[in-house]
């Protein structure tokens, strides 16, 4: 079948222009309307694809697109589908790029082999199998890019939802909103410890007003965070302990005796201020005038 492999490469080199032109026509007809810039991009990508197809089919068998000779083509398609995924194209639109090449290629094979129906059929079959594989590969790459985007967004979301706030020179606050699972705890600890280093804070107040459920795991995560901050030389306080949470904690037998706990962030802040030797003094004059 080697002669056939070369035949496919042969057909492409002989009739490249007509194949490419017809292909581009089909691309612009299907799917979305594209701007002039997008059309230029499509032309460039199509030419690159044809070049890669020529090169690979001349060297390598058509059956295994995982072989090293097909690496440039795989890289090309990975890049292509990644770009399309990021630009908001659908998987179908993206894979159509490859599948729409079938029609012009089959037409070219027909013309080239003319009377020799068996050869034409064999070549057509080989071509369709190859393009199917390449099209499916394109779809897989597309999927992978989408998944990477989603996972990165999830990570960003997790990081954004754990801000560290500087209440005073050496006092940090960590208002936790939502659940505290082990993945989130890692991020919380990292953010908190980095903040302690940067601000040289002596106190960190972890406020759990916004944490709906406190079970054994959450309590363990909290204690871990407290322990980590302590290793960095910062004292931790936990605030926002609602009555129900207080009950749960006692029932669970979690030992918070080593940690200062307060019902509100304000109370915890007051304690931290006092411990760091700060006092809040009321200026009667200003208070009286009600100056803004």
């Amino acid at each position: 079948m080697d002669s056939l492999t070369n035949a496919v490469a042969d057909v492409i080199s002989k009739r490249e222009k007509e194949i490419t032109t017809r292909w581009l026509e089909l691309q612009s007809k299907s799917g979305r309307r594209s701007s002039a810039a997008e059309k230029q991009e499509a032309t460039r990508e199509s030419n690159e694809f044809i070049d890669a197809l020529k090169a690979a089919s001349q060297k390598e068998k058509l059956e295994d697109i995982g072989a090293p000779g097909w690496a440039p083509m795989r890289d090309l398609l990975s890049g292509f589908s990644a770009r399309r995924a990021k630009s908001g194209y659908t998987p179908t639109e993206t894979a159509s790029f490859v599948f729409s090449l079938k029609e012009p290629l089959f037409a070219a094979i027909q013309e080239e082999y003319g009377k020799d129906r068996e050869a034409a059929l064999a070549a057509t079959w080989q071509t369709t199998t190859l393009l199917d594989k390449l099209g499916l590969f394109t779809m897989e790459s597309f999927q992978k890019t989408r998944e990477e985007v989603i996972s990165r967004q999830q990570q960003e979301l997790m990081e954004l939802s754990t801000p560290v706030v500087r209440l005073w020179e050496n006092i940090l606050a960590l208002p936790l909103i939502g659940t505290l699972d082990s993945a989130r705890t890692q991020i919380v600890m990292q953010n908190l410890l980095d903040a302690i280093v940067q601000t040289r804070s002596d106190f960190a107040i972890i406020d759990i007003t916004g944490v709906p459920i406190v079970d054994t795991l959450v309590a363990q995560h909290l204690l871990k965070t407290v322990a980590a901050a302590r290793l960095m030389g910062a004292d931790c306080l936990i605030s926002g302990i609602r009555p129900q949470i207080a009950q749960t904690i006692i029932h669970l037998g979690v030992d918070l005796s080593e940690v200062t706990t307060k019902a509100t962030l304000a109370d915890a802040f007051a304690v931290a201020l006092r411990r760091s030797g700060h006092a809040v003094v009321k200026n009667e004059k200003i208070a009286a005038t009600g100056a803004r």
């Binding site: 990292q190 302690i196 322990a227 980590a228 960095m232 030389g233």
Partner: protein
């Protein structure tokens, strides 16, 4: 033979661990430090681990041993400069280094030592 240098800083001793210690070196440090604490009649030791990118259970035990030995010799110990990733790893391991004082850096470590010493004096006074 290589040794980890122990510097005298006022009334305290400062040990800066700058290299990836192998076990024998760690044990030598313990010996050297004990000797120096006695020699200078030091009341405080600062161990700077800001260059350590990893603290495993062996090093953790070493720090604990140093603190315990120093305490027997009437000196207080503070470990300073732990890197965040090291702290997180220790916590994952469940090694909270209980009984060992920690501070962010040498400056805060000194303040901690001063505080620990005056606390000790208070207790001593109260006792007598």
């Amino acid at each position: 033979m290589e040794r980890i240098p122990i510097l005298k800083m006022g009334e305290f001793l400062l040990v800066t661990i700058q290299i990836d210690m192998h076990d024998r070196l760690a044990l030598t440090l313990q010996d050297d430090l004990t000797a120096q604490i006695v020699r200078h009649r030091t009341s405080g030791v600062l161990i700077d681990i800001s260059a350590l990118e990893m603290v495993d259970s062996f090093i953790g035990r070493m720090l604990g041993t140093i603190a315990a030995m120093a305490h027997l010799l009437d000196a207080e110990t503070v470990v300073v400069g732990m890197q965040p990733s090291v702290a997180i790893t220790l916590v994952e391991l469940g090694l909270s280094l209980k009984g060992i004082r920690t501070a962010l850096d040498v400056e805060k470590g000194m303040i901690t030592l001063q505080a620990a010493l005056s606390e000790r004096e208070e207790h001593a006074d109260a006792g007598s």
